[in-house]
Symmetry: C2
Subunit: 106 residues, 2 copies
DNA sequence: GGGGTGTTTGGTAAAATAGCCAAATACTTT
DNA sequence: AAAGTATTTGGCTATTTTACCAAACACCCC
């Protein structure tokens, strides 16, 4: 594996990594329904607003969302909406995993 | 957000998190081409075999792969192959991100 | 300009992750 | 049963991530 390939795997992994936190995944899913301002997340998520802001920044750095300031609020939206297409398969993974565990008990 | 919802986001995020490491993503992609034994990864990946084994275990815990011992070797394969369908979109994220950076320079 | 609201940034402590080495385990071959 | 190969496990350290608090910043309204 050469240097460029390595860099590509690192970049791709970074996208998954960004979605690999419950709060960030939740926010990404919310954004699939259209843009949201930070204030809306602050109302719904039980965490300090600085924490929420930092999570949004991680999604932004990963290239998943983009932000726009309008007046007092900052609005975030998905930059590449297809990223959530994988969700049904992720749910399939979880189902399969639960099934494995059930089989183990039997 | 209730307790069950939280648990679900955590489980889904765990799948992304597992893929959020270059080595693990590489291994998952290799497995898309069919099962591989640990020894094959050991030959190709520049890391201690204990490290490789631990990465495979993380993929297993996440429900992405399953393993089977045959003779002296342990073979891993994708449990839910659709998980790599998202890759084209991940590449789109990276492209879009590079484009943003190019636009910034201009 | 001063006060108020929304958001980001900086600092810090706790927890999680990654990678290496050494040792243990599992199976095969002799 | 002894020796050899493949893999996992345990232990340790360095690094990264997470979350909170406090402070700074940005914008709006009076």
């Amino acid at each position: 594996m050469n240097k460029n390939e390595k860099a590509l795997y690192k970049a791709k992994a970074a996208v998954f990594k960004a979605l690999g936190h419950p709060t960030r995944l939740y926010m990404a899913e919310q954004l699939a329904g259209g843009e949201r301002c930070v204030c809306e997340f602050v109302r719904v998520i039980d965490a300090d607003f600085s924490t929420i802001s930092k999570h949004l920044n991680i999604l932004k750095q990963a290239g998943i969302v983009e932000d726009e300031k309008r007046g007092l609020n900052v609005y975030y939206k998905l930059k590449v909406p297809c990223i959530l297409n994988s969700m049904s398969c992720v749910e399939a993974v979880i189902s399969a995993q639960l099934q494995s565990q059930i089989d183990l008990i039997k």
